[in-house]
């Protein structure tokens, strides 16, 4: 028999135990919320500082002129903006078609060991140190052609964007219901027509999401550009010479010991962050709302492989 005294003892023990555990739980929750704050503070501070310092440097001249003499603070970042646009266009010309075709292979013909290998290495490449890719582009393009060029940089960046596009395309195509394909077969269509005309057009928004996020990613890449496009203070003059790009310009400006150079660096950073974040936020906002599926997928599943 349990006596009344034992029962009371047990009750106090139990209460003490529960109270202690609840307190520990509260403390842990507090610490974890502190961690979240710790992670958000840098983002807030970066956005604030870039906007504050960057907007001071902005002017029409700053956006359109070539850089002035070092240390004077004159001139602008025109060539860098132009170069970034050119290099994004050129790398997309290489990376997007190959990426989409790989995605089609992975999704439509991807039920075998070879496709599994390809998928795995796409995932591995998505996280690869970009400077190594830069050295590779230097060896196979700059050394072979004998000069720094837009194409060397575009080749390097296309390798970075390729796995991202391939995997998002694959996952968006997989979301297209099998009945769409069956309807195509029932009409007697060839398989490649079903894929290009029906499946691809149904999966368009997911694929665009992937492409835009890949563009945002390469827009901010700096390391591979050092040894491929070199940087320049002149506007684009041909495919056989060095060009400039925003991230490269920011890096070079930040190394100069002049306040005026730093101010220009912040200005360039503002332009770059505007491009990158507006693409990121815009694409997610539009496609998450509209298409649910494919955009949401990206959020859920590819992001974990990227960066």
């Amino acid at each position: 028999m349990i006596t009344a005294k034992q029962r009371a003892e047990f009750r106090t023990h139990f209460r003490y135990n529960v109270k202690k555990r609840l307190i520990i739980d509260k403390i842990a929750t507090g610490i974890v919320i502190g961690f979240v704050a710790l992670a958000i503070i840098p983002l807030g501070s970066i956005l604030l500082e870039v906007t504050k310092n960057g907007s001071a440097a902005l002017s029409i001249e700053f956006l359109t002129q070539i850089p002035g003499a070092i240390g004077t603070g004159e001139g602008g970042i025109g060539p860098a903006i132009q170069g970034t646009m050119l290099i994004i266009a050129a790398s997309s010309m290489i990376g997007v078609p190959i990426g989409i075709l790989s995605g089609i292979f992975l999704s439509e013909f991807g039920d075998n060991r070879y496709a599994k290998t390809i998928r795995f290495f796409n995932d591995v490449m998505a996280e690869f140190p970009s400077i190594v890719i830069g050295i590779f582009a230097f060896l196979v393009i700059v050394l072979v052609l004998g000069h720094f060029s837009l194409w060397a940089g575009a080749f390097a960046l296309s390798i970075i964007m390729l796995p991202i596009i391939a995997r998002t395309t694959e996952e968006s195509l997989k979301l297209v219901p099998i009945t769409y394909r069956e309807a195509g077969y029932a009409l007697g269509l060839k398989r490649w027509i079903i894929i290009t005309r029906i499946v691809l057009s149904s999966a368009k928004s997911g694929m665009i999401t992937g492409i835009m996020l890949a563009v945002a990613r390469i827009g901010g890449e700096t390391a591979p550009l050092i040894m491929t496009i070199l940087g320049s203070s002149q506007f684009f003059s041909g495919f056989d010479g060095p060009i400039d790009a925003l991230p490269l310009r920011i890096w070079r400006l930040s190394l100069l010991p002049y306040d005026s150079a730093q101010a220009q660096g912040w200005g360039a950073a503002l332009i770059l962050i505007l491009i990158v974040l507006s693409v990121n936020i815009g694409v997610r906002y539009i496609f998450l709302r509209k298409s649910g599926g494919a955009g949401l997928f990206y959020f859920r599943s590819v992001k974990r492989r990227q960066r």
Partner: protein, 322 residues
């Protein structure tokens, strides 16, 4: 839209299409193989000249006739900065993932995950700029100097006057940069834990923390390790922010000894010196050799990480869902 119709079920165009997409998919594999080949050929002269001492030596002299290259300080620099970044970043990331998957109410969950992922989208050169001009002054005044004043005389790794361009600053920025990666993958992994696991623990009267320890962690352990290794991969390959903040020491001086000392990593020395190296000498081959080492390290890290993450998420696909 005119749609060509054929009565034959399988035709030549289909075969050509399949071959075409297969070739496109093979491109990434071909690039990887070509990369190994090119980096090996490109760095061959330095292996021939230095042999094994390229890995263990610490001299770094690009002057003609006296050329001598050893990559040991930079390999160590990469390992030390990455390890420090992991030590700071992993607990914080797992905590954030726990908050996002277990504690946060629905209406903060999605916006917060979004913000954490935006952190991953900020280009690394902007982290570098911010670290150099905004973060560094605060860090010297509030963290490095007090630490040095308190322990500097007695503890070897806190010796040397803090200047801000050192291994510690670079590691902290690296930690900030890997937090979004690790926490968003960890969150995925924790969401993949079946709810029955949690419910069983709750039924026994466990608190949230206990549920996390009893039900979530054991189930997702290997995935969380994989997520951390993915972060490690990013920390090892990260270039610009580190280059801007680590102080760029060269030769034996770059051996990581104190936190408050300028260092150098594999990627930062490549970024700093690649354009100055003449293709005629041994210098550029030495840098390509460092690239090859970095390639090997990154490949190994990424392969292990993806195998671990894939195992957990695959187990989830097969599991009974609530």
């Amino acid at each position: 839209m005119r749609i060509p119709i054929t009565l034959k079920s399988s035709t030549n165009t289909d075969k050509i299409f399949k071959i075409g997409v297969t070739i496109a998919a093979t491109y990434v594999l071909a690039i990887l193989v070509l990369m190994v080949y090119e980096l090996s050929i490109g760095s061959f002269p330095v292996w021939e000249e230095e042999g094994f001492s390229f890995l263990t030596g610490s001299d770094w002299n690009a002057v003609e006739e006296r050329e001598s290259f050893g990559a040991a300080p930079y390999i160590l620099g990469t390992l030390v900065t990455a390890a420090l970044a992991m030590a700071m970043g992993v607990p914080i990331s797992i905590g954030i993932a726990m908050f996002l998957s277990e504690i946060a109410p629905k209406f903060i969950r999605e916006p917060l995950s979004f913000i954490v992922e935006l952190l991953a989208a900020v280009p690394s050169v902007i982290y570098g700029l911010w670290g150099l001009f905004v973060f560094r002054p605060y860090f010297i005044n509030w963290i490095e100097t007090p630490l040095h004043n308190m322990f500097g005389d007695n503890v070897w790794f806190l010796s040397g006057a803090p200047f801000g361009l050192d291994i510690f600053t670079a590691s902290v920025i690296l930690a900030i940069m890997i937090i979004p990666t690790i926490s968003s993958v960890s969150r995925e992994i924790m969401l993949a834990v079946p709810n029955q696991q949690r419910e069983a623990a709750y039924m026994l009267g466990a608190t949230k923390l206990e549920v996390f320890k009893m039900a979530v962690i054991p189930y997702s352990k290997s995935g969380l390790i994989g997520a951390s290794i993915l972060g490690l991969g990013r920390a090892v390959g990260e270039t610009m922010a580190v280059t801007m903040l680590i102080g760029n020491a060269i030769g034996p001086a770059a051996f990581p000894y104190s936190l408050f000392q300028a260092g150098q990593t594999m990627s930062s020395i490549i970024a700093n010196e690649f354009n100055e190296a003449s293709p005629a000498g041994l210098h550029i081959h030495a840098l390509i050799g460092i690239g090859l080492i970095l390639f090997g390290v990154a490949l190994a890290i990424n392969i292990v990480a993806h195998l671990l993450v894939a195992r957990v998420l695959k187990a989830h696909e097969g599991a009974v869902q609530a």
